[in-house]
C-alpha cells in the first residue's frame, strides 16, 4: 500500500470505529429523555429503570466514544495537515462551536449521573435535555465540515492563496442543513433500533407475560415509535440529499446510480454491480425514468452521466453498492417499525410472532451497518477530492512516510477497546439485572442512579 492509501485507511478505520459510538451516543440520550418524560407523565417506575439502564450503557459507550472522537479530531491534523490548514483558515467555526457543545454534554452528563439524587427532578430533565442537545449539536457541527467538503463556500483561491474569506458563508454552505439533518435523524434511528434489538432479544428469552417480558415490551414500543418516526424523516431527507447531489456533485450521483450516459428519462438501477467495461449495471433491476424523476421531480430532468467527466475525477464505482445497501436498510427499518406499531396499537394483537422478534433483533446491527455504508459512500464518493474541486486528497495528506506501524497500532487498540466494551456491558447488565434495578427504584432509601457507579 502506498502512504496515501495507508493514511486514508487509518483515518477511515478511526472514523468507522468512532461513528458507532458517536451515533449511538446521539441516539440514546433521546431515548433516555423519552423514558424520563414518560415516567413524569405516568409515574411508572419501570421507565426510570429504563432511563437508568440506558444511561449506564451510554456512559460506557462514551468511555470509547470520547477518546476515539479525540483521536479523530487530532488525527485530522496529523494525517491531513494540508486539509486542516484550509479548514483552519476558512471553516473553523463548526469545530470551535462544537467544543461548546462538547462541554455542555460533558458537564451535564456528569451532573445527570453523579448528582442525580441531589438535584430536583426538573433539573434532571433539564440536564438530560442539555446532554441530548450537546450530543446532537456535536454531530450536526461535525457533519457541517463534511458538508463543506462537498459544497465548499466562503472563500476563493487566487494564485494558490486563499482570499475573500467569509467564515459564516462557509458555515452556512448550501448542503449544511440537508446533510446535517440526515446524520441527526439517522442517529436517532440507530439509537432507537439498538434498543429495539436488545428488547426483542430479551422478549425472546423471557416467558411471555412475565414482568421482564412486559418491561422489555414497553422499551420495544418506545423504540419502534421513536425509530419509526426518525426513519421516515431520514428517508424524506435522504431524498433531498440525493437531489443536492444531482445539483452540486453530479459525478457522485452518477457513480452512486451507475449512470454513464447523460440523459433525460434516466432509469434507476437497484442492486447489481457497476461494470466499467460495459458501462452498465449488471444484475440490477432497472426502473425506467425513475432516476430523472427522483433527481428533479420530473421525467424530463437530464441526469449527468460519468462519461461527461474526466475519468480521474470519477469516484470509485463500488459506491453504487454501498448506496443501495444504505437505502435498502433504511426502507426495511421503516417497514419494521410501522408493522410493529400497527400490529400492536391498531390490530391490538398482544404478542409478536417469533420471526418478527428475530427480525427486530437484527434491526440494531442493520441500522449501524447502514450508518457505516452511508459514511463510506459519502466520503469515498467525494474522491479524489478532500474539498470538492479545490483540494485533492493526495495534496492534503501528510508528507510523513512509514505510516503502516501506526496503522497496525491503532487497529490493535480499537480491537482491544471493542472487545473490552462488549465484555464490560455484558458483565454490568448481567450483574445488575432489570429486577435488581426495579427493586432499587421501589426502595426509596437506595440511590438508583449512583448505585454501582
Amino acid at each position: 500500500m502506498d502512504d496515501l492509501l495507508i493514511a486514508r485507511s487509518l483515518f477511515g478505520t478511526t472514523m468507522a470505529f468512532h461513528i458507532i459510538f458517536a451515533t449511538i451516543g446521539v441516539g440514546l440520550p433521546l431515548m433516555i429523555l423519552t423514558a424520563e418524560l414518560l415516567y413524569q407523565k405516568s409515574k411508572d417506575l419501570e421507565y426510570v429503570v429504563m432511563a437508568k439502564r440506558w444511561t449506564k450503557a451510554f456512559a460506557v459507550l462514551l468511555g470509547v466514544g470520547i477518546p476515539t472522537g479525540t483521536i479523530a479530531g487530532t488525527q485530522l491534523s496529523l494525517l491531513w495537515p494540508g486539509f486542516m490548514e484550509v479548514i483552519g483558515r476558512v471553516m473553523p467555526l463548526p469545530f470551535q462551536i462544537e467544543i461548546y457543545a462538547f462541554f455542555i454534554e460533558a458537564l451535564f452528563m456528569s451532573i445527570y449521573v453523579y448528582a442525580a439524587e441531589r438535584i430536583a427532578p426538573w433539573m434532571r430533565i433539564v440536564s438530560l435535555i442539555l446532554v441530548a442537545i450537546g450530543a446532537l449539536a456535536s454531530a450536526v457541527l461535525i457533519t457541517n465540515v463534511h458538508a463543506f467538503q462537498g459544497t465548499p463556500a466562503g472563500f476563493r483561491i487566487e494564485d494558490g492563496n486563499i482570499v475573500d474569506v467569509n467564515p459564516w458563508a462557509a458555515f452556512f454552505n448550501v448542503s449544511f442543513f440537508v446533510t446535517a439533518g440526515h446524520v441527526a435523524l439517522s442517529a436517532y434511528v440507530t439509537g432507537a433500533f439498538v434498543v429495539a434489538s436488545v428488547a426483542a432479544f430479551k422478549m425472546l428469552r423471557n416467558e411471555y407475560g412475565s414482568r421482564l417480558y412486559k418491561f422489555h415490551q414497553k422499551a420495544l414500543m418506545i423504540s419502534l415509535v421513536v425509530g419509526g418516526i426518525a426513519a421516515l424523516g431520514t428517508a424524506l431527507n435522504g431524498h433531498s440529499a440525493a437531489q443536492y447531489l444531482h445539483e452540486y456533485q453530479p459525478e457522485k450521483l452518477a457513480a452512486a446510480e451507475g449512470l454513464f450516459e447523460t440523459q433525460s428519462h434516466a432509469p434507476l438501477a437497484i442492486g447489481g454491480f457497476v461494470d466499467r467495461e460495459t458501462e452498465s449495471v449488471k444484475w440490477g433491476i432497472e426502473i425506467p425514468w425513475a432516476l430523472s424523476f427522483l433527481a428533479g421531480n420530473s421525467f424530463d430532468t437530464v441526469v449527468v452521466g460519468l462519461n461527461d467527466f474526466p475519468e480521474e475525477w470519477w469516484p470509485p464505482l463500488f459506491i453504487h453498492t454501498l448506496f443501495n445497501a444504505m437505502v435498502l436498510i433504511g426502507s426495511l427499518l421503516i417497514m419494521i417499525a410501522f408493522a410493529g406499531i400497527v400490529w400492536k396499537k391498531f390490530l391490538k394483537k398482544d404478542r409478536f410472532p417469533k420471526w418478527f422478534l428475530w427480525l427486530l433483533v437484527t434491526s440494531g446491527p442493520l441500522a449501524v451497518a447502514a450508518i457505516e455504508f452511508g459514511w463510506i459512500f459519502a466520503c469515498t464518493g467525494r474522491q479524489p477530492w478532500v474539498i470538492y474541486r479545490i483540494l485533492s486528497t493526495a495534496q492534503a495528506a501528510t508528507t510523513a512516510t512509514n505510516l503502516s506501524l501506526l496503522f497496525i497500532l491503532f487497529i490493535a487498540v480499537y480491537i482491544i477497546l471493542a472487545i473490552a466494551v462488549v465484555l464490560v456491558l455484558l458483565y454490568y447488565f448481567k450483574k445488575n439485572t432489570v429486577l435488581d434495578d426495579i427493586r432499587r427504584a421501589e426502595d426509596k432509601n437506595v440511590q438508583l442512579f449512583s448505585s454501582n457507579s
Binding site: I71, S77, L79, V90, Q96, V413
Partner: protein
Amino acid sequence: MTDALIAITVLWGFVFIYAVMATMDFGAGFWSMIYINREKTKATNIANRYLSPTWEVTNTFIVALVVAVYSLFPTAAYTLGTVLLVPGSMILLLLALRSAFLVFSNIATEYRKPLTYISGITGILIPGLLISVLPITHGEFVDYETGFAQLNLEALFTSPNVYAFIGFGISSTLFLSSVLLADYSKVSHAMDAYQVYLRDARIFGPISLAMAFLIMLTLRGEAPWLYDKMMEDLPLLLFSLFFFLIGGAGLFLPSFFEKGVRGMPRLAMIAVTIQYLVASYVYGKAHLPYIVYPGVTIESAFTDPNSFRAVFVTYIVGFAILFPGFIYFWSLFMHDKRYLRQRKPKEGTQS
C-alpha cells in the same frame, strides 16, 4: 496588542488550563491505582470521587486546545501536524486506553484492580509525552532536508533536555494532583487520605522543582535563544520560586486556621498554581514570536483576520453560555458536602 498576540494569549490560556486540569486528572488516576490495596485510608475513594465526574470535562479541554491551534494558527497546525505524527499518535493511543479503562473500572467493579492498573499506568505516561511537545517546538529536532518538516526521533530521544521536560511533566503531575487531593480529602473530612496525600505532595514538590532546574540547565546548551530570553525575566522566575516556597509552607507548617491540623492545602494549592502560572508565562513570553523555532512565527502562521474575528466572537459567546454551567458543576462536585462527605457510594443492594 496585535490580533496574533491576542490569539497566542488565548492559546496559552488553554494550554495552561489544560495543563493544570490534566495533571490533576492523570495524577488522580495514578494515585487511585497506587492506593487501591489500602482500603482503610480511602485515598483511592477520594481520587475516584474527584475523577469520575471530571475526566470528561478535562478531556474536552484537550480537544479545545487542538481546535484552537488549527483555527487560530493554521500554518502552525500544518507544521505541528506533520512533525507530531508519531508522538501525537502515541498520546492518542494511550489516551484512548486510559479513558476507556477508567470508565470500565468504575462499571465492572469485580475487575476494578486490573482495569485501574491499565488506566493508571497509561495515564501517568501521557503527561510525559504531552510535555515533550514543548522541546519539539524549540526546533532542534526538526529536519527540513527532504523539503518537508520531519521529526528526528533519534535526536529527540537522546536529548537530555527532552528527558528533563518529561521528568518535569510527570513529577509535576504527581505534585499538583497530590496537593489537590490533599485539599479535596481535607474538605471531605477523610483525614487518613489527607495525611497520605500531604506526604506525597511533600515528596514530589522538591522533585518537580529539581526537574525545573534541570530543564533550565539543559536548555542553556540546547536552545540558548530560549534560555537567554527566559533569564531576562529572572525576577519573575524568582517570584515563581517564592510561591513555591509559600506552597511548601502550606504543606509543612501547622495550620493558621484550624487548631491541631498540620498543613494548609488550600493555601498550597493556590500558591502552587500561581507558581506554575508565572513560570509558564515566562516560558511562553520567551518562546515568542516563534511557535515552532525558527520557521513558524505567530504572525506567519496566523489565520485569516475574518475567521479570527468570527472565532473570537464564538469564544466570548461560548464562555458566557458555559460559565454558569461550570459554576453549577463546581458547586455540585467540589463544594457540596453531601457529595464530598459521603461515607461511600451506597451499594447496599448490589448483588
